[in-house]
């Protein structure tokens, strides 16, 4: 049984690669800067937000330049945003294909997540640029823990695949989800410490709200590894691990239950 699944998956790896490269080609076709936009975009948004927050809001002490604080969190969050949103419509969007050829349908979700992942890799380059800038000015120090950032990245990837599977399956039956998700993700963004520090909430006794948010753990660990040279605590690591596995399993379960009925609704 498992072996058959595995063989199916291996057989369609070229398709996964093919679809991802299609998305890539189409995204940057006819733009002069092409792939540079994957790096420019997060940089420009960071510049906007940094200037806005430097002027309008009094900054909370966060222990590092705001630009660094923001771009580290935003890189991860944007990946989650892009991966979940594009996975959500991946089944509906590939309706013509699903109706005519047999393809394991989770491939489409996986493809969207991989595509977002590649985009994130470019954003990471931009992020490194910003951090290096502050390293040169002496405001940030680099630590060896940088090499461990793949841990929270893997966590958030698995988490996104799980969420993507759930959303894509449900959105086939209830298109409302595609409309409400944009709102939810905005809400989710404000519950993730991207532009404020968790200390700010602690002062108000609202820390627990953020701690309910799975993304908090990934973002926090990522930042700690990247900038502060702090290893994730064991309970953070375990919480992250449990959240990811549970989400992925739930996603696979929901997707499996519904996948045979997709074709009747798309």
């Amino acid at each position: 049984m498992l072996k058959a699944y595995w063989r199916d998956f291996v057989k369609f790896i070229p398709l996964l690669v093919g679809l991802t490269s299609r998305d890539f080609k189409l995204k940057y076709r006819r733009s002069f800067l092409g792939i540079l936009w994957s790096m420019l975009n997060p940089l420009l948004i960071m510049l906007v937000l940094t200037s806005v927050f430097a002027i309008i809001l009094r900054q909370q002490p966060i222990g590092m330049p705001f630009a660094v604080y923001y771009i580290t969190g935003a890189t991860l969050f944007n990946f989650f945003n892009e991966a979940s949103s594009s996975s959500m419509s991946s089944i509906i969007g590939n309706a013509p294909l699903i109706k005519k050829v047999y393809i394991p349908k989770y491939i489409f979700v996986l493809e969207k997540c991989s595509f977002s992942f590649i985009n994130m890799l470019f954003s990471l380059i931009a992020m490194m640029g910003v951090i290096l800038f502050y390293v040169i000015t002496g405001e940030v120090k680099l630590h060896l823990t940088v090499f461990l950032i793949f841990i929270p990245i893997i966590f958030i990837f698995v988490f996104s695949v799980g969420v993507g599977l759930i959303l894509s399956a449900l959105s086939v039956f209830f298109r409302d989800i595609t409309h409400i998700w944009g709102v939810l993700i905005t809400l989710w963004m404000y519950f993730t410490p991207l532009i404020y520090s968790i200390d700010l909430l602690r002062d108000h006794g609202l820390e627990w709200v953020v701690k309910l948010n799975p993304l908090f753990y990934f973002v926090d660990d990522f930042r700690n590894l990247m900038i502060c040279g702090i290893f994730p605590s064991m309970d953070h690591f375990l919480i992250s691990f449990c959240i990811c596995s549970a989400t992925l399993l739930l996603g696979m379960l929901i997707f499996r239950i519904f996948q045979d009925r997709f074709i009747l609704h798309i």
Binding site: L15, R22, K100, V101
Partner: protein, 247 residues
Amino acid sequence: MKVNNKKKVVQVENVSMHFNMSSEKLDSLKEYFIKLLKRQLFFKKYVAIDNISFSIEQGDVFGIVGLNGCGKSTTLKIISGILKPTMGSVVVSGSVAPLIELGAGFDMELTARENIYLNGAVLGYSKKLIDEKFDEIVEFSEMREFLDVPMKNYSSGMVARIAFAIATIVQPDILIVDEILSVGDFHFQEKCNRRIEQMMKNGTTIVLVSHDIEQIQSLCNKVMWLEKGKIKMLGGVKEVCESYKNS
């Protein structure tokens, strides 16, 4: 009568396929709950295929005939694994190449060259295999000069040529053909027919749906006649076609 010692490659047992024919499609959560509360959430059941059983042996050219809406295409989709039957079981042994709608996996924004690789992947071929067969595909489709043109600029016949060339590049165990041979000019149609005949010679099992009774008669050795989702007749090509024509 032939002796039944050949391997059965497709076995369909007591298969039924039901569709919900809800007069309005419930796409939104709000509607769903309103209907649920009002207890209006019942669906009209449409039985596309009603408890059919048949088997296809290796090397058969199996024709399916019947009027529009009798379940021919649904049957093909069930055999190729696109649709899961509501009831019953389907066992297929061997690789299946469905020619159900040519060019289903094409992205019209991409060029033909890119699409050949993408569509090959859709059909489950490795990149290495397509690299090897690339020239053969291009030769067969006779589209070399348009290879780097986005496919949105192609005519439907040109799309079909590329699609047929990719889909038949590997000799499948079972080839499923749904009235696709009506596309393209007569020269290309002949070319397609020759390739299919070549495959038949090499032992590929073929399942063919067509309204062209002449074509069925000339190609098939076994024919199934479907009517309203049920098997009206199943047997040798001569008897079934005669009664189908006389009906």
